[in-house]
């Protein structure tokens, strides 16, 4: 693509050619949040696991399954398995399956564990999926369109960038440690010994980086007392999309009201 062609694509609203990624970021957030929160209002843990599967399907539909999995499996392993084991081993229950020292595994404790992890995995899945299907620039643009101040949207954008910058800085420091002959690979203990001493400089660098970045943004007239313009724009939200989001929200409200009614009755 030559530069003129590249430049001219900014004249058109940004489209990804994908039904999920072309949703307005705020609508996408709305839908995902409803999906994630709904598991807290449905008592059956099977619904939570259905939601986990549904999120996989949505990730595949968005063309981001690989990226989604690369993050999500860590959550499944770290939180899902750990929480399930703890809950299953220590929650009280009547129908005992297995008992050893202080560990009591029962049918009830297993159900309690499944219920907990179905909620945790669903909600964390929603968060990961939103991050994987959303360009932060699009998200902050959408926020500004509904009246969120330019400064707030930049803070959001820059915070997420700082996370990836921190990762890069950590890699640079670890590479320099390696160059000095310090072992940074190997078992968990070796890695911890290599990482812990660099945490201080890493954080200090990040803090000073924030100061420098704010000056750099001032040099780009970030706080200029004029209404800013946008190089990148998103497509206007279609009636169909609006209707779908309203339908999802109405169903969620009905679910919440129904659940509260069941509690009260």
């Amino acid at each position: 693509m030559d530069n003129l062609e590249f430049a001219n694509h900014f004249l058109e609203p940004r489209r990804y050619g994908n039904i999920i990624r072309d949703l307005n970021p705020l609508n996408r957030l709305n839908i995902f949040l409803v999906l994630g929160l709904s598991v807290f209002f449905v008592s059956k843990y099977q619904y939570g696991f259905f939601m986990v599967v549904l999120l996989f399907l949505i990730a595949a539909l968005a063309g981001r399954l690989k990226n989604y999995l690369s993050v999500y499996w860590k959550i499944m392993l770290l939180f899902g398995l750990f929480l399930f084991c703890v809950k299953a081993a220590f929650s009280p229950g009547v129908h005992m399956i297995f008992q050893l020292w202080g560990i009591h595994v029962s049918i009830e404790s297993i159900q309690s564990g499944l219920s907990l992890i179905s909620k945790v995995l669903s909600f964390s899945g929603v968060v990961v999926l939103f991050v994987q299907t959303t360009e932060w620039e699009d998200f902050t643009y959408a926020l500004e369109q509904i009246g969120v101040p330019h400064t707030v949207s930049f803070v959001i954008l820059s915070s997420f960038q700082t996370i990836s910058d921190l990762g890069q800085s950590a890699n640079v420091i670890m590479d320099s440690q390696k160059a000095r002959g310090i072992e940074t690979d190997g078992n968990l203990w070796k890695r911890a010994k290599a990482y812990i001493p660099v945490m201080g400089p890493l954080v200090i660098n990040a803090v000073s980086g924030v100061e420098e970045k704010s000056i750099a943004m001032d040099a780009r007239a970030f706080s200029a007392p004029v209404q800013n313009s946008f190089l990148i724009e998103l497509p206007k939200v279609t009636v169909k999309e609006k209707a779908f989001v309203i339908l999802i929200d109405v169903l969620f409200v009905a679910l919440v009201v129904g659940r509260i009614a069941l509690w009260l009755l």
Binding site: M1, N3, L4, F6, A7, N8, F10, L11, W136, E137, F154, L157, S158, Q161, T162, D165, G209, E212, K213, S214, I215, A216, M217, D218, A219, R220, A221, F222, S223, A224, P225, V226, Q227, N228, S229, F230, L231, I232
Partner: protein
Amino acid sequence: MAFIELKDVTYTYPLMKEPALKNISYTFEKGKFYGIIGENAGGKTTLCNLLRGLIPHFYKGKLRGETIVNGEDIKKVNIDLLSTQIGYVFQNPFTQISGVKKSVFEEIAIGLENLGVPKQEIIDKVLNIAKLVNIEHLLQNDPNALSGGQRQRVAFASVIAMDMDAFVIDEPTSQLDPEGTAGIFEIIHMLKEQGKTVILVEHKIDLLAQYADEMLVMHKGEIIAGGPTKEVLSDISLMEKGAMLPHTVLLNHELNQKNIYLDHVPVTKDDCIRQLRTRMSS
């Protein structure tokens, strides 16, 4: 016409005992090109921060004396408004990239977006400035993956694109090769021709001698010499205070020691060649 006036300004950074600027008095006029030279830690960058209003609005500390920008005291000036009048290119290219954009094109456009420039105009300006600064081949690249020299060019282009009345530029060529440096100087010269005020900190003294209208020499936080470029750079005694002087001035000094005298001290190559030719033919 005075653009920035400094009257007996002394500035000390927070938590520091020694002032970084001492008793500075100077007048920067509109439409002129000022070069600032001097040893490292001589106060050049601090002076730039003051001229751009980062001192006292961002860096607090103790500021004494008067700094008048466009007729208004720097302490009372609206820093947000000042950011639309004076462009600032920093010394460190690695902290000048916003980090939030995916292409150099969008990176250069940030300032223009902040100034509310319409989209089509942004596109035209970015394409033009990229051609001018010779970074057309980088426009579609990720700005976070550029080399130091490339970042320096992009940062320079990003600020120049904003087309302000004045530019404070702190060592914009520290990571560039001679060809890139010459290109940047030509653009700075072009800005001056367009009537912009340019205040440039640089160590490339031969190029400064060629383009700058006035020179300031800083040493330990003080301006030890300031005035028309020829006048300032002709003073060989400045070398004792760590100032670099053009090769032509050093050559003239060597010639003087051998009792060979030119019409006047040549501060640019062209002037030196012309005088030597005249001398040899006579």
